[in-house]
Every structure is written in C-alpha cells, then in structure tokens.
Amino acid sequence: MAYAYLFKYIIIGDTGVGKSCLLLQFTDKRFQPVHDLTIGVEFGARMITIDGKQIKLQIWDTAGQESFRSITRSYYRGAAGALLVYDITRRDTFNHLTTWLEDARQHSNSNMVIMLIGNKSDLESRREVKKEEGEAFAREHGLIFMETSAKTASNVEEAFINTAKEIYEKIQEGVFDINNEANGIKIGPQHAATNSTLSGSQGGQQAGGGCC
C-alpha cells in the first residue's frame, strides 16, 4: 500500500513489561496474554494517517532481557521513534529506565523521538510507580510520557500516534533529513511534498483499519 512516509519505531524496556502486547494491541487491536517470549526481535506494521498523509509505522519489538541488550543495540539503527516501556506494577522496571535511555541515546540518531510508557495501567491496585514519577522522569529527560494498558487498549493508539506526530513535526521543521534513511524515515511513493501543516485532528484513524 502506498504511503507518504515510513517511520521505523523500536520498542524497548525490561522483559515482561508488555512490549509485545502493546505492539499486538496496536497492530491487531487485540490483547493476547498467551504469546511466545520475544527472542531477538519481532515486527509489526500499521498504517496511520496524519495530516491527511498515509504513514506506515514499522515497529521493531525487542527482547527485554538483560542478556539481549548487546544485540538489541543493533536494532536501534535507523529508528525514528522509540517507545521506552516500563511496568507500573514493578518498580525495578522503572529503575532500569536510565540504562535503557543511555543505550537508546548512544545507539540511535540524536533526533529519535522517545516516548516513555508506563504500561499496565489497568492494574491500578498493584501499582508501584506513581504516574507523577513517570511524568517527572519524562520531563527530566525530555521525553513524551503516557500511561497505557495493552490489555484494555487504553492510550495505546495515542502512544504510537503521538510519537508519529512528533516525528512528523520534526520533519516539517526540517530537523530530520528525510533523505537519509539512517534517520528511520523513508519517503514513500505516495508522497506529495507540499502539505506542511499538521492537522490536529486525531490522527488516529488508520488506513484500512477496521476499527470503527
């Protein structure tokens, strides 16, 4: 399917925080608690529309275990956006954010948009990390922040789409060199290089999406 832009995302974070479930919820709109453990990398893709333009999101879902860290680094290359995920019911996953962030900054291009995600917001009763803490961390490191639930789908669309908007804005501002694929952006065949303004409308409704 023709698209104007293609953005590469990467999802990172500790094992078991729900990275694969977020991806599945976003691409398939379903929650599947039973799934294979991610070893190496998995992929997903979906079309979204921003400012009337078709944008293909190509999402790389990585293994979270520490021992995979060394190879996860090779997945950063060419990513335009990253979802850094922790589990609000497990403080240790929040505590590890700093090292994840260091890795991400070190191995990706400096313009990569990073969205911090506190997942499993449906498990309020088991919450160990306050929302304010997530917000503070994001502020401190210049990230976008959201709490999501892959199970209920809460904020999942927004997380992916807001990241795309941010990237799109950077393109409009000329921050990204879209001719360099190393930036994680590819111009598609359908690209009409004219429009410049973002429509604030919910970029949400995806092409081909059967959503409503």
Binding site: R30, Q32, I39, A45, K56, Q65, S67, S74, Q202
Partner: protein
C-alpha cells in the same frame, strides 16, 4: 477512542505480526483477553505433536507420515543401536548419522537425543546432581525471570498450556488420531509410540518441570545464569523426556553444541551470525549481495533461529527432524538450515525484486513460505548444503580475528564447540555402565504370582470399559502393556525405581510412578480434581504391573531362550496376540485387555489396597507410566507371562522365573535380549524390504569400519582434545572425509553430498 474493546476484530491488514503461534491462531485472538491461559484448551483440537489449534504450523502437508512397517523397522534398529551405543558410535557412526537423517522414530526420539547429546553419560556420571540442584533455592532474581517466562514457552502446546494444568485432553486426541489406529501387526508399535507420548503428555505440570530444569541450570552454571532463549530449548527436550534427562540434554546443548550462546553479551551468537553471513556468499551469492546491499545484519534475522535451534520457526515435524540431525552432527545443521531458508527466500532475482529494502526483507524472512520448511524438502536441502563442520571452524577463525580487531577480545571465553555426537563422546568417553539403559524397574522381591481369577475379573472390567470407550487414556495404558514387547523406548525415560514402602502392595510398578509423582506435585493435584482420571489411574496400575510381570520375563533367561528361538518366542509376542481372536478384530482393545489382566492380577490386589493411599500416586502413575509403559513394550516378555497362560506351555515357565533371583537383574539386560529377539523378526524382512535403510546395510560392512578405524587413531583425539579453533578443523576434516566416504559409496545422493561436505 482511547478505549477500544479488547476483542474487537481488527480489519487492519497491515499487521504482519509473526509471532510463531499468533499468525496461526487468529481465530483465538479474542479468547485470550481475560480468560485464563488454559481456559480454551479443552475444546481445541490438538495435533499429533501436542500443539493446540494448529499452532506451530502443523498441517498434513508439513509432515510426512511413514508407513507403520517402516516405522517399526526403524524402531527395532534404533533399539539395537541404543543397546550397543558405544559400538555403534565407534564403528558404525555413519549409519547412526544416516538414521538420524532419516528421522528418529518418535517413540525413541527422547532416548536417542539423550544418547546422541551425551546427556545420558553426563547424567550417569553425575548421579544425584540434578536432585541436588533441584532441591536448592536458586537466585531469586533469576527465578523471578524464569517464572515470568514459563507461560511464554510454546504456549499453545498442551504440555505448557498452563502451570499445573493437565494434559489429559491429549490422550483423547491421540486415540482419535487416525494415524494411531492400528490395522496390522504394527499395533504394538503404534501403541507404544502413543504410550510414550501419552506418558509425557499426561504428566501435568510440565511448566513446573520447565521451571525446575531452568532453575537447576542457573545453579549448575551460575556464571552463565538464565538466558531466555534457553527456555524453548528446554521445553523441546521436556516434550520428549523427563526433567532430569532434559536438564542434562540442556547442559549438553549449552556447553557442547552451542557454547556461549546463552552467556552474557551473546558474543557467540553474534559471531555465528557473521559466520553464517560469510558462508552465504558461497551458498547463494545473490542472497548474500542482497543482505549486504541493504545492510541487514545477521543478528536481525538469525538470533531466534540459532538460539532456539529453529524450534520456534519451523513446522513441528521439521523441528524434530532438524533436531535429530543437529544432535547427531552438531551446529553445522543449524547453519545449513539457516542457509537453506535464506537461499530459498532470497536466492532469486524475482524474489528480490519484491523486497527492496531492509524492512521488506525482514518481513519476508519472518514469513517463510511453508513449502521451504516442509519436512522432506528441508531435510533434503539441508543435506545438500556444501558446508561442513570444518568450513564453519575455518570461518569461525576468520571471524574471530576480525572481531578481535574491531571489538577487542571476547568477554566470554566459551569452551570449544563440539561438532556432534561423536566428538562429544570422544571428549567424554563413557563407560559401558554409563550407556547402560536403566532398568525401569528393579525387582527385588516379587509377590507370588497373582491369582488368576482376580485378573480375569479385571480383564472383564477392562473389556467393558473399552466397549464403553469412556477413558481412552486407560485403554492406552492397557495397550501399552501389550505393546511393551515391541518397544523398549519408554524405559529409558523411566527413572530408576526405588522400591517404596507404599509400593509393597503394588510392588514394582508403583514405586517408579511415585517418584515422578512426587516431583510433580502440581500434577497430582489436577489428577485428583479430575475424578474420571483417577479411575483411569486405577486402571493404569495394572499397566504398571505389567512391569512387574516383565521383570520375570527379563530375568528368566530361561524363558528367553525359548523366546529367542526365533519363531516361537516372537510369534507369541507379536503375532500370537494378533492371531488370537481378541487381537485381530478389536485388536486394540482386546489385546491390551487380555494381557493386562494377566499381568494385573498381582497388581490388582495392590491397587485395591492402595486406592485410598495412592490416589495421589494414582494420579502420578500416569506420569510415571511413561517409564512403565515403556518397559512393558521393551519387555514384550512381560506380556508373555500373561500370554503364556493362553498359549499353553510357556506360561508356566514365566511364572517360575518371577520367583527366581533373575528378578533382581536390571531390566536393561532383558531389554538387550529382547531387542535381539525383535530383530530376528523384524530384521529378516526389514533389511531387504526397507529401501530406506537398505543403503546403510551395504555400506557398513566395508566402509564404515575403515573409516572408523582411521579416524579414531589420530584425528579424533586431537580434534576433540585440541583447542577448537585451528586444530579441530583439520582433525574434523580428516574424520569427516573418512566417515563420509563410506556413505557416498552407499550411492545415495544424500549421503554423497554429505560425504563431501561433512
């Protein structure tokens, strides 16, 4: 908009999610939302490998079905090999390899894997080690991660569906499986293989075993700890063997076959990625250039392939065949499979046109066309890839140099890689004792021959039960009893039985059962919860009893002579039953019934006393049964005792043997004897008939031995002992050449290619 209903169907065609199971489980996507993991299993079809709802790409096309006769011949051959493993490995290794390439019979796969990998030897040389590790606490952090992963290993395989869950559903499916309907003399074998699978499948709580095995490994190698990619490896092993065996199999794979793969930093896997990539230049220059052009690093596509030995990539039938070869020949098989897939998917300009770009290529490699992964096709292709262990070692050396130049020394010093079963055996020479097939049951004191009448009654009951077809599992158990003669397979799994006090009532058979039961507490509970099961369990005891009856068989060298006397002994076992009224028509139900009853009589009594006590044990029995069921198979003799009665003359002899000291003798011996017996029967026809193996017989004579002799002398030792890098290669080459040359002569295309490249 923020909240979208869970189960809403997605019409988004963009999704290319390719998690191995998910793509085949679309219709179940909504099931998972809130239901428990195991909530959907009961009404889902389970394929013959135990996967639910078509997971792991099962289809009729993906797997080849062998005629039962062929399967049986192979089983006999494998039984013989396993009984004389050191000799086969030393003198006829080429044949062992060829048989691995043809596929190990399912009923013997677990045992064969354990022998090939050296796990058997390791286990024997470290008696009590697993128990020791199993009893230790473990690092809470590691355990936490392991715990979280348990439900994420083959989540659609019945054994791992839910922690503490039960797998009885499986037995139903097994029985319903048309492939399992015996229609000939293969009844026994068929039943045996079914029983083997049943035993493991029946054991609930394989997730618990997975936990134990992984935890034990972290204690065994605290420096290495737990790597998530080890879990699928352990799970595959657990599908074929009990926890202790699986643990040693895992140890061997992690230390000998894929050293360093699961160590911190994952340097070994990255290095192998570079090796794979470099070797692709030779195998498919087109694919190589494409990967180069789009900067697709090997680590992007081969991590899961290699770390999980393709267990999450291929259709299950292919996974098993690949593992058969992998455990025999080592990592080169993994490389070759990877190269075949790359070549097939990226090897033509036409295909490359469709995937211009890194991501498109990655998509393609995540959705490999089923025809390329089909068992027959894949194995053929793999055998033709011109890459030998030597090539891999050579390239390893080159890449290691490069790595050091660019990235410095490796942080993890892994032991040298062993290229296959032979190298492993040479590096850790086993004693005969190590290779001995463990007696499933040790008979120290046998109860007096059970009164016939009770048995008869039980038989009648069983027959009724069968008619009612209420519980297939039990029936299977009965079948197993009859089949024992044919298959020794189960025995390997059976743990050495320590006579337990409670056992006394049902002496021999139960003890073994109890142990497994103990280890799998969760299992027993489920069993308890399932009233129906317990009954079957009750019925099963009789099965176990067969074991009891077996010992006599084995012991009675006296009785055996008659058996060996070719026709006489065998006929009784296999044919006789068949010829008998019960066998022929309702072959399945009757044979089992009749024999079991016989064996049971003694059992029956014990069961009666036990019922109250045993119930937990009862539930367990299913688990242990594997062992139990197997022994019976191997011990066909067991069945004989009962048979004798019908048969007239023999029965009497069998009984006496029971009382005789021979009982103490380990089953292994009996097994050995049996195998020979079987051979006569099978061998006579098999060799000539079976085209498959035919090539082998011819070669062995001349080629194999020369090859063997040559190698052992100089090459083997140096290769094994020496450092992996350089020295090994030359050694390997020499060996491979020698070994293979015979194969080539065999004339089979496969062997020929193998020769040149191995």
């Amino acid at each position: 908009m923020a909240k979208i209903e869970n189960g809403r169907l997605s019409a988004d065609t963009r999704s290319i999610r390719t998690i191995s199971s998910s793509s085949h489980m679309d219709d179940e996507s909504s099931i998972g939302s809130d239901s428990e993991i195991n909530g959907f299993t009961s009404d889902r079809h389970t394929d013959k490998y135990g996967f639910i709802g078509g997971a792991q790409q099962y289809s009729e096309e993906s797997a080849q079905d062998l005629p039962p006769e062929v399967l049986r011949q192979r089983e006999v051959k494998w039984l013989d090999m396993l009984s004389n493993w050191d000799k086969w490995m030393a003198k006829r290794h080429n044949k062992v390899r060829l048989r691995c390439q043809k596929g190990i019979p399912p009923s013997l796969r677990g045992r064969a894997w354990l022998y090939l990998s050296g796990g058997k030897v390791k286990k024997e040389q470290n008696r009590g080690k697993f128990e020791e590790l199993d009893s230790q606490a473990g690092d809470p952090k590691e355990l936490d991660v392991i715990e979280k992963d348990l439900h994420r290993q083959f989540p659609f395989h019945e054994m791992f569906v839910s922690r503490g869950g039960h797998g009885l559903v499986v037995s139903h499916n097994l029985i319903d499986d048309p492939h399992l309907v015996p229609d000939s003399a293969c009844l026994f074998l068929t039943v045996c293989s079914v029983l083997c699978q049943c035993v493991l499948r029946l054991s609930p709580c394989r997730q618990q075993d997975l936990f134990r095995v992984l935890k034990a490994y972290t204690l065994y190698r605290p420096d290495e700890g737990y790597c998530q990619a080890q879990a699928p490896i352990a799970a595959v092993l657990l599908m074929h063997m009990p926890a202790e065996d699986a643990f040693w199999g895992l140890v061997q794979i992690c230390e000998k076959y894929l050293p360093g793969y699961y160590s911190a930093g994952l340097e070994a896997i990255q290095l192998d990625g570079e090796i794979l990539y470099a070797l692709m230049r030779r195998v498919s220059p087109l694919a190589y250039r494409h990967l180069e052009k789009h900067k697709i690093e090997p680590i992007l596509y081969m991590t899961e392939w290699f770390m999980c030995a393709f267990s999450r990539t291929l259709p299950w039938a292919s996974v098993l065949r690949v593992w058969d070869m992998f455990l025999c020949d080592g990592v080169k098989i993994i490389f070759r499979v990877g190269m075949v897939l790359l070549k097939c998917m990226l090897g033509t300009r036409e295909k490359l046109k469709a995937c211009q770009g890194q991501y498109e290529t990655m998509e393609l490699l995540r959705t490999i066309e089923p025809r390329y992964m089909q068992e027959g096709f894949l194995v053929r292709e793999v055998l033709e890839v011109p890459v030998s262990a030597r090539d891999i070692e050579r390239e390893h050396h080159v890449q290691l140099k490069r790595w050091r130049k660019n990235r410095g020394d490796l942080h993890c010093k892994s032991p040298p890689r062993m290229h296959g079963a032979r190298a492993i055996m040479a590096s850790e020479p086993p004693s005969r004792q190590d290779l001995r097939q463990n007696p499933t049951i040790i008979v120290e004191s046998q109860l007096p021959p059970p009164p016939p009448t009770p048995q008869l009654k039980k038989e009648e009951k069983k027959s009724k039960e069968e008619k009612s077809k209420e519980k297939k599992g039990k029936k299977k158990g009965s079948m197993k009893k009859t089949t024992p003669a044919v298959k020794d397979i189960p025995n390997p799994y059976a743990l050495p039985v320590d006579p337990q006090p409670p056992l006394t009532p049902s002496p021999l058979s139960q003890p073994p059962l109890t142990q497994p039961l103990l280890s799998q507490p969760p299992l027993t509970q489920p069993l308890l919860s399932q009233p129906p099961l317990t009954q079957p369990l009750l019925s099963q005891p009789p099965l176990t009893q067969p074991l009891l009856s077996q010992p006599p068989l084995t012991q009675p060298p006296l009785s055996q002579p008659p058996l060996t006397q070719p026709p006489l002994s065998q006929p009784p076992l296999t044919q006789p039953p068949l010829s008998q009224p019960p066998l022929t028509q309702p072959p399945l139900s009757q044979p089992p019934l009749t024999q079991p009853p016989l064996s049971q009589p003694p059992l029956t009594q014990p069961p009666l006393s036990q019922p109250p006590l045993t119930q937990p044990p009862l539930s367990q029995p299913p688990l242990t049964q594997p062992p139990l069921s197997q022994p019976p198979l191997t011990h066909p003799p067991v069945s004989l005792p009962p048979v004798p009665l019908p048969f007239l003359t023999k029965p009497p002899p069998t009984n006496p043997p029971l009382s005789q000291p021979p009982l103490t003798v380990p089953l292994s011996q009996p097994l050995l004897r049996y195998s020979p017996v079987q051979h006569p029967l099978i061998n006579d026809t098999p060799l000539p008939n079976t085209p498959i193996d035919c090539s082998l017989p011819d070669q062995p004579a001349l080629n194999d031995q020369p090859a063997l002799n040559d190698q052992p002398a100089l090459n083997d030792q140096p290769a094994l002992n020496d450092q992996p890098a350089l020295n090994d290669q030359p050694a390997l080459n020499g060996q491979s050449v020698l070994k293979e040359s015979p194969l080539q002569q065999s004339t089979q295309s496969l062997s020929s290619t193998e020769d040149t490249y191995l």
